[in-house]
Amino acid sequence: MKSTSQSVPTATSDTLEAGARLSFGRRIGLWLENEAVLGYVLMVPALLLIVVFIAYPFSLGVWMSLTDKLVGTPGKFVGLANFAKLLRSEIFYQAAWNTVVFTIAATVIKGVFGMWLAILLNRKFRLARFTRATVLLPFIVPTVLSGLAWLWMFDATFSVFNWTLKWMWQMEISVFGMALKENWGYFRGPLWLGSPALAMFSIILVNAWRGLPFFAITLLAGLQTVPPELYDAGDIDGTNEFQKFWHITLPLIKPIAVVVTVFSFVVTFSDFQVVYILTRGGPHNSTHLLATLAYQLGMTSGNLGEGAAAALFMFPILGLVILWQLFYLRREGSD
C-alpha cells in the first residue's frame, strides 16, 4: 500500500510535465486517466457531503455531550457530567430497558412472520407479483402518514378498534370464547396507547407492521436461490415439511437472513418516528426509547449536551453490531 501511495504523486507529475504544452482540458483528461487519481476524484463529492453532514455533525455532537450547552448558549466543558447525570436518572434506565424490549420483540416478530410470509410468497399462485408489490407497501409509505393513521385507529375514545369491539359487544359476539358483555356493563374498550403495557405492545406492533415487508422480500430473494432438487431429494428420504425447512432451507438462506436481521436490528434500535408520533414516550415514560429520550432532552427541552450524551449511549451497541456484520460478510464472501 505504501508503494502505491508514493507512486501517485510521481505518476501525476509525470503526466503533468508531459501535458505542459497541451491545452488545459486535455491536460485534465490525461491526468484523469491515472486510475488512482480518477478514483479519488470520483469519491470526493460523496465523501465531502458525508463528512460535512454526517461525520462532522457527529463529532460536533460528541463534543456537545461533554459540555453544558443549552440552545443559544456557547456552553462550557463539563467532562463526563452529562453521562453521569444520565446514569443517575431513573428515566435513563427505563429508556434503555424499553429500547432492549422494543428492539428484541420487534425484531423477533419481524423475523418469524417475515420468514413465514416469505415462504408463502415463494409459492406460485395467481397475482403473485401483485401480492409481492402490495406486501411492500407499509415499507414505502411515509412513517409519519402511517403513524398518524395508526394513531387515529388506536385513539382512546374514538378508536375504530374499540368501535368494532363495541359493535361486537352489542351483537354479543364472543371473542376468544369470552363474551364481552359479561365483563363490562358499560363498554369502554382498552386504552391502546394509554396504559403502559398496551402502549409498548402498540408501538411494537406498528414497528413490526412497517418493517416486516422488507424482511419478507429479502428472505424471499434467499428462498429463490435454493435449488428445488434438494427438496426432491428430501422427499425421497421421506422428510416432512418442517424437517425440510430446518435442514434444507434454513442453512442455505442463513447468510441473507443474518444480514437482514442485523439491518433490521440497527433500524429498529434507532427508531424514533413511530414512538414519537404514537406516544411521545408516554404514558409515564413507559415507551421512551434512547432515541426519543435523546430527542426530548436535546430538541424539546433544549438541553443539547444531555441529549447528545443520551444519543451517544446508543452508539457502542450499534457500532458492535455493525462491525460484527462487516466481519461476518467478509468471512462469508471469502468462502
Binding site: S5, L32, L38, L42, M43, P45, A46, L47, L48, L49, I50, V52, F53, I54, P57, F58, L60, G61, L120, R123, F125, T131, R132, A133, T134, L136, L137, I140, V141, P142, V144, L145, A149, W152, M153, F158, V160, W163, W209, P213, I217, T218, P228, D235, I256, V259, V266, S270, A294, G298, M299, A308, A311, F315, L318, G319, I322, L329, R330, G333
Partner: protein
Amino acid sequence: MIESAVQRQAVLQPKTVLRIGRLSLYLVLAAGAAVVALPFCWMVSTSLMSLGETINRQWLPGTPRWQNYQTAWMEARFAVYFMNSVIITATSLAGLLTTSILAAYAFARLQFAGREIIFFGLLSTMMIPEAMTLLPSFLIIRGDVIPLPGGSWLNTLQGLTVPFMASAFSIFLLRQFFRRLPVELWDAACIDGCGHLRFLTTIVLPLSKAPLLTVSLFGFIASWDSLLWPLLVTTRETWRPLMVGLWSLVTEAGAETHLFMAGATITLLPILVIYFLVQRQFTEGIMTSGLKG
C-alpha cells in the same frame, strides 16, 4: 420447478387435500393483505367522510364527500407545497444519483491507496443515529459553524437538498452490483480504447437498471417523506414541502380528521403511482443487488 412440485404433491396426496391447501394459502394471504392495507383503506374512507362521521368513528362514510379533497388542497396551500416537494425531491435525487454512482464505481472498479479503509469508514457512518446529527446539521446549515456559499441556507433549496445528496447505503448497494459485472466487459472496452467514464456511462449504467431504480426509490421516499428536517430549516413558507403542509394541517386543524386524511391521500398518491410503476425492478433490485455480501 413448480409443476414438478404440484405433480409431486398430487402423487402423494388426494386432490381434495391439495385444494384445501391452496384455499388456505389464499385465505392466509388475503388476511395478510387486509392487515397491510387496513390503515390505507381507513385513510381513504375517512377522507370521504363528513366531520360528524369522523367523530363517530365509522368504517365507511354514508355518502362519499369528494369536495373534502378540494377543501384540503385549498386550505393547506397544497398547490404550492406540491410543486416545492417535486423540485426538492428531483434536486436531491439528481445529486444523490450522481455522487453515489461515481463513488460506487470508484470503490468497485478502481485501484487506489486506502480504498478499503475509506470504504470501511464510509460504511461506519451508517451507524450514526439520526437523532444525533440533526441539530449539529441544523447549525451547519444556518452557517454558524463553517461559512457557507451565500450565507445562511435556511429557507433555501440547497438547505433542503444538499445534506441528502450522498448516502453510504446507496453507495454500498451500487458498489455491490458494479463489482459483480464481469471483468471481460472492461477488458473489451479497454481494447476498444474506452476510458473509465465512457465505460461507466455507456456500459455499466445501462446494465444496472434494477439497482439504480432501487437507489432512486429509496432516495425518492427519503426526500418526499422527510418531515423533521424541513420543519427545522423552513421558517418561512417559500420552500415548504408537502409533508410540512400536511403536518400543519394536523397541528392547526387537529379536529378536522377528514381533511387531514384527504391531504394524506394526496401526499401518498405520487409515491404509490411511482412505486407501482417501478415495483418489479424494485423488488428485483432489493432481491438481487440487495444486502448480499
